[in-house]
Every structure is written in structure tokens, then in C-alpha cells.
């Protein structure tokens, strides 16, 4: 199963691009969601873990939940698996309310954040556990388990007990166990957190591969944005029990709907100011005394004088020694810090107003010969369409 990893490392990016043009069930009015959350609220005592949440997830989606610790991701998953019941609202699976269906009768498998491996069973028996409870013929079970073991590179550990393997190996056992039954809906609560980067990447592609082959719908919780970006068809960003934005990874990154999402996903410069309409889609943002206003575009112009936040990603800010002629926006400042990340460097530039703006540049030259260094006076510039005007 792993054989194809390197081959489809490229292939996967291709399929993803295909997916973007072909697979968009959320835009099809006739498409029936596999999961529907309808105004779901979940309270623990007086604490509200999930608040009035409405969400549709479609068949064959790879749906990622992203959000800070304690925002309710696990709670959402547990409601899908059947371990928690909504305090208010309803959850539909295939158009049927699942409130009354017990966990063992749901065609849903969950990979637990704590793994929940059975300590008295070997790796093999752990993976076989669900299969033995299904109507799979007894003779087929070892074959299926071995397939899972190969998939997760656990062959050498099949006879060991969970306390005799490493944390990352345990995580893979948990993954293999939840995959074994090939459920309609698979819930993965931080499935890859304990893996090293290479194994994580391989497993990500493998998950996508499995998903393509089996047509299973995946809901995945992750703290790793890059992971969400790589695997997900859509990403939901959560904050304190609510969903702030649901969209495709590129839209979440390129057009976040709020400062919260912009700040949560990736690196971004946020500049507070007041917006004034100029012409057409263009607005000016007055952000500091004695500084030229920032020229930016937004599809829906906001009222003059409104408080807004201008957001721009560091890689969209160009850095140069001279003032560029053709850019809509340019400010000068002093390099405060340089973060060297191998392929790129992030320059932290302090403006005369005291604001710090980050700019990214690819390292086409070796470090010793780079153009800028600490304390250099530089110009930062960007076009009028590079940034976003956020009102919330």
C-alpha cells in the first residue's frame, strides 16, 4: 500500500486540483449532505461547549475541524459517534435523526484522541476487534488485519501489546483499528499528531488515497494547519463552540471572513485603521499619523470612517532597497529581525509608526550573500489587491 507514496506525492497534488474543479458538492443544490447538524447546542452543566451549530458535510468529503484547544472539536466528534447527545437541535446522518441510535449501531468509527487501545490485546487483536464484531466471515479477518498492518507499517509489531510499542506506533494502531471496518463515516481526532514529519506526510497521502478508493467520508480534527490544507476538501474554523468559517482550504487562506480566521490560519500582518471609499471597489485605509493611507480593494465597500483591519500575508509583501515605482502601496522601515526558514526568510520590519510588518522572500542566494541584513533601511510594497479589508 505504501508503494505508491512517492509516485503519488505528485499525483496527489494533481488529484487535488482535479478535486477543486470537480468535487464541490456543497455548491450543488441537489446534493444531499451525509451529515447535517441542525442548530445543535451542547451544554455540560452550565458550560456551553457547542453553541447553535448548523453544518452540512457531504459524502466523500475530507472535512477538517480546526480551532484552538477547548473550542469543542472533540465534543462535535463525540456527538457524531454517539457518545454525547445534543442538548438542543438534531443531527441527521443520511437524512435520519441519529439521536436514538446507539454507538454500536452507527456506521461510524472513531479514532480516539487518547487512542483507547485495549491494553490486554495485541496490536493484531486490537485491529481485529471491530472485524470480529461485524458480519465479516472469520476466514477473511486475518487478511484484512494484515492489510491494515501493512498500510500503517506495523507488521513487525503485530504480536506486541500496546505498552510495548512507541507513542507514534500506538497512534498508528488506533488509526488502523478505526480504518479496518471501512465505515461510512470515519472520525479522526488528531490522528497524526505524534508522528514525525515524514511519516505524517506519507500517512496524509495514504489517508487521501484510502478516501479516494473507499469513498469514505472523513471528519478530521487537527492542530496542524498545513495538514488541514493538504488533506481537506473543506475546513471549518471553530471558536468557543461556534463555527466561524467553513470553506475550501484556499478560500480560508486567501479570503478569511474575519480577523479571527485570518489570524488563526497561517501568518498574517494585521493593521488597524479607518476605511474611506475612493472609487469602485477601492478604499483607503488611514492607519497612522503622517503615513500615506493604504490602498486596498473590497467587493463590498464599507461606510466611510468605519473601523477596519487591513490584513496581508507576509509572502504578498515585497521587500526592496529602493522605493518601487509601480506598486500601489509602499512604506519604509528598518529590519528588526530575520527568521531564516531554509527556503524562505521572514523579515520583521519596524515602521516609523512602531508597527511591525512581516515580509517574506525566497532565498535564491546563499545566506552569506543575501541582500538585506539587520538594521537595513528597506521598502515594503504591495499591490492594491494583495490584502484584505476585514470588518469583524
Amino acid at each position: 500500500m505504501w508503494r505508491g507514496v512517492f509516485v503519488h506525492a505528485d499525483g496527489a497534488t494533481m488529484t487535488q486540483q482535479q478535486k477543486k474543479t470537480v468535487f464541490e458538492p456543497w455548491d450543488e443544490p441537489n446534493e444531499q449532505p451525509i451529515i447535517q447538524f441542525k442548530n445543535v447546542t451542547k451544554r455540560f452543566g452550565s458550560f456551553t461547549a457547542i453553541e447553535d451549530l448548523t453544518l452540512d458535510i457531504y459524502r466523500k468529503e475530507f472535512f477538517a475541524l480546526l480551532g484552538p484547544s477547548g473550542c469543542g472539536k472533540t465534543t462535535l466528534m463525540r456527538m457524531l459517534a454517539g457518545f454525547e447527545t445534543p442538548t438542543e437541535g438534531s443531527i441527521l446522518l443520511d437524512n435520519k435523526d441519529i439521536a436514538a441510535v446507539p454507538p454500536n449501531k452507527r456506521a461510524v468509527n472513531m479514532m480516539f484522541q487518547s487512542y483507547a487501545l485495549f491494553p490486554h490485546l495485541t496490536v493484531f487483536e486490537n485491529i481485529a476487534f471491530g472485524l470480529r464484531r461485524s458480519n465479516m466471515p472469520k476466514a477473511d479477518i486475518p487478511g484484512r488485519v494484515e492489510e491494515m498492518l501493512r498500510l500503517t507499517q506495523l507488521m513487525p509489531f503485530a504480536k506486541r501489546k500496546p505498552h510495548q510499542i512507541s507513542g507514534g506506533q500506538r497512534q498508528r494502531v488506533a488509526l488502523a483499528r478505526s480504518l479496518a471496518k471501512a465505515p461510512k463515516l470515519l472520525l479522526l481526532d488528531e490522528p497524526l499528531g505524534a508522528l514525525d514529519k515524514k511519516l505524517r506526510n506519507d500517512t496524509q497521502f495514504e489517508l487521501m488515497d484510502i478516501q479516494e478508493k473507499t469513498g469514505t467520508t472523513f471528519v478530521i480534527v487537527t492542530h496542524d494547519q498545513e495538514e488541514a490544507m493538504t488533506v481537506a476538501s473543506r475546513v471549518a474554523v471553530m471558536d468557543q463552540g461556534r463555527i466561524v468559517q467553513v470553506s475550501t482550504p484556499d478560500r480560508i487562506y486567501e479570503s478569511p471572513n474575519s480577523v479571527y480566521v485570518a489570524d488563526f490560519i497561517g501568518d498574517i500582518n494585521l493593521i488597524k485603521g479607518k476605511a474611506y471609499h475612493v472609487a469602485g471597489e477601492q478604499s483607503e485605509i488611514h492607519w497612522a499619523e503622517g503615513q500615506a493611507p493604504i490602498l486596498a480593494t473590497s467587493a463590498t465597500p464599507c461606510p466611510d470612517g468605519a473601523d477596519v483591519t487591513f490584513a496581508i500575508r507576509p509572502e504578498k509583501v515585497a521587500i526592496s532597497a529602493e522605493r518601487p515605482e509601480d506598486m500601489a502601496n509602499a512604506v519604509s522601515g528598518k529590519i528588526l529581525d530575520i527568521a531564516y526558514l531554509g527556503n524562505i526568510s521572514t523579515y520583521h520590519v519596524e515602521l516609523p509608526s512602531g508597527d511591525i510588518v512581516k515580509a517574506q522572500a525566497t532565498n535564491t542566494r546563499r545566506v552569506a550573500r543575501r541582500r538585506f541584513t539587520w538594521e537595513d533601511e528597506v521598502w515594503l510594497s504591495w499591490t492594491d489587491t494583495a490584502g484584505l479589508i476585514l470588518t469583524t
Binding site: N109, F112, A116
Partner: protein, 298 residues
Amino acid sequence: MDLRRKFLIFVPYAWLLVLFLIPFGIVLKISLSDTALAIPPYTPKLDWSDGWSGIISYFSQLDFENYVFLTEDSLYYVAYLSSLKIATISTIATLIVGYPIAYAMAKSPSHLRPTLMMLVILPFWTSFLIRVYAWMGILSQEGLLNQFLLWIGLIATPLTILNTNWAVYIGIVYTYLPFMILPIYAALEKMDGSLMEAAEDLGCSAISAFWLVTVPLSKPGVIAGSFLVFIPALGEFVIPSLLGGSKTIMIGKVLWEEFFSNRDWPVASAVAVILLVLLIIPIMLFQRNERKQREMEQ
């Protein structure tokens, strides 16, 4: 090795030496002696004044006669078997009563658990002897139990429970129940609740999840509890004497009679040594269980 560590290692060994090995050596020595009308009632006695020859003549007089005697009289053999039977049945009964209690405790809200634990060990606050006497009051012909059963009309004539093996079983189960509950509770309480959820998620009903996950994971607690009940029950003396009848034969009772009624210390000591040898097997099994469990947890 510094002095502190030497001392820390020395303490348990000194304890073992003073409180187990020396008394056991004395008992072993007496078991190899002969009865005599003397104080203490056995010979030979070690006479230090004769020096080496005294010690040599002392050892030459020791023999295994008493052990041979134990095999000749069927009383002892019957008593050992009967003790084994009573200890085994009581252990199983204690397990049947104790497991559900331990399970309920482990499943109760965590703020209630300390209280429940207290209730389990509360009986230890009063004398064991008094509690056994109380059972005499409960189980006798005119006792509370018979009165209650007559009152609700379940029986027409009082049952004879006291002075039968039934009373012994009840007494042992009652007395040793906490030793069964606590290890099982400890095993169940530290069980990760998400394991049951995982089992259900993978298609188990609540009952099969219990059998396939909870029971195997509580096994070390069950084994520990069973030994903690079985080992003392095997040599139990007070309960069969007070609650059991003349037909209840247990080795502890035989031992008592040899010592105090027959004043045959050597035979009594031989009985005690054999009992200890019998107990070594379950004690070793118990140790192995504990070791295996520690390995699982590390």
C-alpha cells in the same frame, strides 16, 4: 552504597527475620521434637552448658516422626481437604458478592467514591470478634434472620444456619469482603473510560464490551482479591469455631485443639508447617500476578 541505602534495605530484611523467619524456625524445631510432660511440653531441649556435644546430641534427637503421624491419622488429611474446600467456595462466593460492589463503586460519581470506600472499610473499626458474635445473634434459631424470614412468611419453621458450614461461608464472605472489593475496585477505577466507548464504537453491545474489555482488565484485581481472601481463609480458626458446628472441620481448628486441648505442641507445629507449605503455592502465584501487572503498567 551509602549508609542510608544500606539502612533502607536492612529494615525490611530485619523485619522479615524477626517477625517471620525466627518464629518459623522455632515452630519448625518444635515440629521435629517429641511430646513430653514438661514445661514447655516437648523434648529435647537445647542445653548450651554441654558445649558442642550437647548441640550434636540435640540435633540427633530431632526426627520427622510427627509428620509421619500426620499421614497415618486420616483426621489431618480430611481437615486439610475440608479447609481447601471451604476456602475455595468462600473465595468464589466473596468474588460473586464483591465484584458487583466494586464495579458499582468504580462507576459511581467520583465525589462519592471516597465515602463508598470508607463504608467498605468501616467494619474494621470494630473488633472482628464482636462482629463474629453479632453474626451468631443474626444466624441462630431465634436470630434476626430467622425472625425476619418467618415474619415475611418465606419459611414456616426456623432454619438451622448457625453451627453449619453455611454459617462459616457467610462469616468468611462477610469478614473478607473488603479484601476482595478493594483490589478489584482499584483495577476498575484506573480503567480508561474511553476503552468502553472504543469497544462500543467498534460494534460491541454494552454487555459484550463488559465481557471483552472490563472483565479482562480487572483480572489482576480479581486474582489479587481472591488470594487475599483464600490465603487467610485456609487457616481460619475463629469463624469455624464460633459459627461452624462439630461437623465443620478446618485445619485451623485442629491446630488449636492440638495445642491447647491435647497440649501436643510438636504435632500442632507439624500441622502448622504443612499449612504454611500449602500456602506457599498460592502466595507465589499471587506474587507472580503482582509482578506481571507491574510490568503491564510500566
